[in-house]
């Protein structure tokens, strides 16, 4: 709070409009704030770079002159039969099958980003829809949803995921609806994380539905569907984007944990979690095989976390941080 004397009421209106005062759209305002946050901009670069790496993985591996991710070469062992460490031709070393670790780390970005982004999209759609219905209609719909969320939140999801993953990992299940590998993981993420989104959206809708513009719209004869998805939903876009961005790293970690425990992405498709699992029995001698995929995970998750923080600060300038 400042102690400067307050300007007379309406003084700002009297200032003649000059050339350097221009209207800014919310998007422009957001971008100006976001740009000032150097950490957030850097993390945006990292995220974009990761996406490029994932898409152009074959090209990058080629340019770097590395062998493909599943090219095995059992000659690349040391005197004791262990894998060889980092060298010029294999900057991250090789694994126990003689596969190039750097090449596998590059390809591993694909699984992590796919799971992170698709899983988040699916759970966001479910969470936003259910949260919207509960907050808008209240009453028994709301009670039912709240109770369902309680049940879902009290199931330790990693254990349940392990169970479902093990059960579905071979042939898929639920009549082929859940396919082994990526499908199982995305399904698990969807059922595990929608309550978080739903809870947040519900809370916001509860207060938005009492606002005057909703009354006005209803008076004009808008249907419930229109009120929910054309009037209320656009007002929720900022929090939804922020929470979705912060959900991506959690999903990436979830996939890594499942793959680490041997359920989830199966070889030969490279996944960072699965690489760390392979490395575990020999990690005291072949440290590179464990350290590099983990570092890739750390950098990816960190970048998404920082990006999410930056988006939150830029979209919600009144926030404390």
């Amino acid at each position: 709070m400042s102690w400067a004397p307050a300007a007379p009421l309406g003084a700002d209106v009297l200032v003649p409009p000059s050339a350097d005062v221009e209207a800014r759209s919310p998007l422009q305002l957001f971008w100006r704030r976001f740009r000032r946050d150097r950490l957030a901009v850097a993390s945006l670069f990292v995220v974009v770079a990761l996406i490029v790496v994932a898409i152009a993985a074959p090209l990058i591996v080629d340019v770097l002159g590395l062998p493909g991710p599943d090219v095995q070469n059992l000659n690349l062992t040391n005197y004791f039969g262990g894998p060889l460490g980092p060298s010029w031709s294999h900057p991250f070393g090789v694994d126990k099958l003689g596969e190039d670790v750097m090449s596998r780390v590059i390809y591993g970005a694909r699984v992590s980003l796919e799971v992170g982004i698709i899983g988040t999209l699916v759970s966001t759609v479910i969470g936003v829809t259910l949260g919207m219905l509960a907050g808008f209609y209240r009453g028994w719909v709301d009670t039912l949803l709240a109770r369902t969320m309680d049940v879902f939140l009290s199931i330790p999801i990693l254990l349940l995921g392990l169970g479902i993953g093990a059960a579905c990992a071979v042939r898929g299940c639920a009549a082929g609806l859940i396919q082994p590998g990526l499908g199982v993981i995305i399904f698990l993420i969807a059922i595990a994380t929608w309550p978080f989104q739903a809870r947040i959206v519900r809370g916001l809708v509860l207060s938005l539905r009492e606002q005057e513009f909703i009354d006005a719209s209803r008076a004009l004869g808008a249907s419930d569907m229109r009120l929910m998805f054309r009037e209320i939903l656009p007002n929720l876009s900022a929090p939804i984007i922020v929470y979705a961005t912060l959900q991506i790293p959690l999903n990436i970690l979830f996939e890594a944990a499942l793959s680490y425990l041997g359920i989830g992405i199966r070889p030969p498709t490279p996944s960072w979690g699965q690489m760390i699992a392979d490395a575990t029995p020999i990690f005291n001698t072949a440290w590179w095989y464990m350290v590099f995929p983990g570092a890739a995970l750390l950098v990816t998750v960190l970048a998404f976390n920082l990006l999410g923080d930056g988006l939150r600060d830029a979209l919600n300038p009144r926030g404390a941080r």
Binding site: I155, L159, G163
Partner: protein, 319 residues
């Protein structure tokens, strides 16, 4: 208050029954491996399989199996019998409970005390080097996968393979009653790894809440009337801590999931590793039991947190 507690406990019981039903359905309907086939050994003949199904009661209608299962769980806390060893799941879990409890309780203490402590120190001096380094560390710990962090700390600090050989490494777990000191030292690394992520989240939230609270008018009032700084801070902390309590219950669920990973990495003979091995073997009776026991922990933690919150914030009791 009593009415609130009763309502909360009744709903907790209902949640457990629903979780019980869900896990039963999942693990009877979904498994692609028939436990009877698993038990019958190599090249089983259909007769042997049918026999085993009969012994395990798998040939009865699903509804009957479900009713019997629920009856056993509710009336006798009997969680069924391992498909492999015929041992009671209750016994298997009971034997491994101390290891998991020492891991989870120790990590929870470290998480809450460490997380809130660091958050308060950071929040009182935002922008200082202490705050910035603490928050930087927190961000890295939030982003690091537990199992990887576990391997890295083993590589750095384990007595057998570490660079700096200070702490006992993987597989060094001993029971609390057999050797308290060794128990304590062997749990130090697992506690740290399991607590790190949650503690970091709490530190960040606590810091944010405290910065906001310390800017409020009542803090200025408290200072203006000459309260000692310690008392002023206590008021700020008190109001910043309330919203964080509700997140406790969610983090308990995450902590139990993390325990599976940490037990695997550090070779601790707990429920998590039991469940993991059971999954690998297709022993779904054990998996189901472990999920239920874990859900029991989460529900109880939820109830305790909610009651604590209602005690702190009277508005909750009447909503």
């Amino acid at each position: 208050m009593t009415a609130y507690i009763v309502r909360r406990i009744l709903w907790g019981i209902a949640t457990l029954v629903i979780v019980c039903a869900l896990t039963f359905l999942l693990f009877r309907v979904l498994p692609s491996a028939n436990p009877a086939v698993l038990r019958a050994g190599r090249n089983p003949n259909p007769h042997a399989i049918a026999n085993i199904e009969k012994v395990l009661g798998l040939n009865r209608p699903l509804t009957v199996q479900f009713w019997d299962y629920m009856k056993d769980v509710v009336l006798h806390f009997n969680l069924g019998y391992s498909f492999y060893s015929d041992e009671a799941v209750r016994t298997l879990i009971g034997e491994r409970l101390p290891a998991t409890l020492s891991l989870a309780v120790g990590a929870a203490l470290l998480w809450i005390v460490g997380g809130l402590g660091v958050g308060i120190i950071s929040g009182l001096r935002p922008g200082s080097w202490l705050d910035r380094s603490a928050m930087g560390t927190a961000l890295v710990l939030v982003s690091a996968p537990e199992f990887w962090l576990g391997l890295v700390v083993l590589l750095l600090f384990a007595k057998d393979i570490g660079v700096v050989r200070i702490f006992p490494g993987a597989g060094s777990y001993v029971g609390l009653t057999s050797n308290p000191w060794n128990w304590f030292t062997s749990m130090l690394l697992p506690w740290f790894v399991l607590a790190a992520g949650s503690a970091a989240i709490f530190a960040r939230l606590m810091r944010g809440g405290l910065i906001e609270a310390m800017g409020e008018d009542y803090i200025r009032t408290a200072r203006a009337k000459g309260l000692r700084e310690r008392k002023v801070v206590r008021q700020g902390v008190r109001s910043a801590i309330n919203p964080i309590t509700t997140l406790l219950a969610l983090e308990v669920s995450a902590l139990i999931g993390g325990a599976v990973l940490v037990e695997t990495v550090f070779n601790i003979p707990g429920i998590g590793r039991l469940a993991y091995n059971a999954i690998v073997e297709g022993d779904f009776a054990v998996v189901q039991g472990a999920v239920l026991v874990a859900a029991l922990f989460v529900v109880v933690a939820n109830i305790l947190v909610d009651i604590g919150y209602a005690y702190l914030d009277p508005r909750v009791r009447y909503s």
